[in-house]
Symmetry: C2
Subunit: 263 residues, 2 copies
DNA sequence: GAGTGGTCTAGACCACGCG
DNA sequence: GCGTGGTCTAGACCACTCA
């Protein structure tokens, strides 16, 4: 900012944190802009799949240069919250887009690739309203006894049952979710969550272990009790690092494997 | 570039790909600069841990603006090939740095964190020169029968054997590697590879399955044959996507878990 | 051809690390 | 106080998309 800001009716966001604070907490302008855009994203100013305003418009709105909003958007794009498309605009990310469907599912077939195999067939075994146990409440940042929705399902690939999953969702946010919805929605479950409940899963953590199934689990997956399985516990978050889904999956790894890239 | 380039004794990198090509293959300047820096990195112009020239120096060398080399370095930093340190410079990344030690090891203790637990104790069971099998050759991009070094070792945490690993390395690049080196080097094995052999592991892929150990494996890990284990096959790459290490690990997951972040 | 994101430049100033 | 990376601006031009 060469001279003091040019005459304007509205002050631009302040350059630094509070003056005289013990921790100066310097925050660059573009981080503040990023925060403002994030806020609009969270509060649904633009819906998933929609375009956000152009860089020039945002620069005008926030009274900063295009380069500054560009850097803010760059970070949002790096976090997969928005998607840039040259010549078209910047769009709120979705779990619906073809290329990145099943973004969070890292299980790949040993032979061929996921696109050959096609999407999983879903069998809903259970979908009921329940009360959060102490453990589930802790993980989902609820109180024990709060309403939750519990789902049990099987995912099959080319007819072979491969994943047995238990899902817990906060009842509050997913009021009215039915087994029919879970079973018949075309496309990723997370896309349905976005469209029908306005809940966007933004990132997730997984803890993976090797386990043996019990009798019931083995039957559902059509394996023996001595077949080792991957136990995948996933905690998925919306904006603001708010946990919104707990998933416990058992993955068969005789025809598939969990794939991960490190750098 | 407003007017044609200012008078200079050396031409800057060309702005576009070959003229008249069917695919114009437009490549931005900063990508070309990135390529040049990468080339210097690969050929050891700057060694791991050393500082690369300042942005201003590089800008002068390549006859572009500081902003352009900045964007090139930004990408290299995003890929963990270099590390920026404000006020000090930009440094060639290392597997030695404290914070990111064991960058590629995703196994965490269930209780406490890795820093509490401390580094793994290594027990080398085997370290010998051998010939690549057809399978290993295919994976490491060698020819069957080419010399390889084969290592078998156990990693223990707080005295408990937790990981049983088989490692295959191209004999060419790791000529002279001994069991003593593997056992007694302080710090990550990948740091030793950098210092003693000039081989930098830059990224890796892992395929994970659940398996049961055979008799021998079970004994080494001090578990029964019916204890399910994580089978982790890792292929690690140096520059240029050249595969340089194959690792097959068996991980106990009774006290640890494989942790992964998705976004 | 108008509008969007993408690249490139040049220059100013800021925060940080170190002697 | 100097050199480094980090932020911010203003302006020009390029590549892509779509009407």
């Amino acid at each position: 900012m060469p001279p003091p800001p040019p005459p304007s009716t509205e002050d631009p966001p302040s350059m630094s944190g509070s003056v005289g604070s013990v921790t100066p907490a310097f925050s660059p302008l573009y981080q503040q802009i990023k925060g403002l855009i994030l806020h609009s994203l969270q509060h649904g100013e633009w819906k998933p799949g929609e375009a956000i305003p152009s860089e020039i418009e945002l620069a005008a709105r926030f009274r900063v240069s295009q380069g500054t909003v560009r850097k803010a958007i760059d970070e949002l794009a790096a976090e997969n919250l928005v998607t840039r498309r040259q010549g078209k605009g910047t769009f709120v990310s979705t779990h619906t887009e073809r290329q990145v469907q099943y973004r969070f599912l890292k299980l790949l077939p040993d032979e061929g690739d996921a696109s050959v195999e096609g999407p999983a067939q879903r069998t809903i075994l259970e979908c009921r309203r329940a009360r959060a146990s102490v453990e589930v409440a802790r993980i989902l940042a609820l109180r024990a006894g709060d309403p939750v929705i519990q789902i049990k399902r099987i995912l099959s690939f080319t007819g072979v049952p491969t994943i047995l999953e238990d899902i817990w969702l906060p009842g509050q946010a997913f009021k009215g979710l039915t087994a029919e919805q879970m079973a018949h929605y075309q496309g990723p479950t997370y896309a349905m969550f976005e469209i029908d409940f306005g809940v966007r899963m933004v990132r997730a953590e997984e803890k993976i272990r090797a386990v043996l199934p019990d009798e019931t689990q083995a039957q559902w997956l059509n394996v023996t009790c001595s077949t080792p399985l991957l136990s995948v516990e996933r905690l998925a978050y919306t904006y603001n690092d708010a946990p919104m889904e707990l998933r416990r999956g058992l993955y068969r790894t005789d025809t598939h494997h969990y794939y991960n890239e490190l750098s």
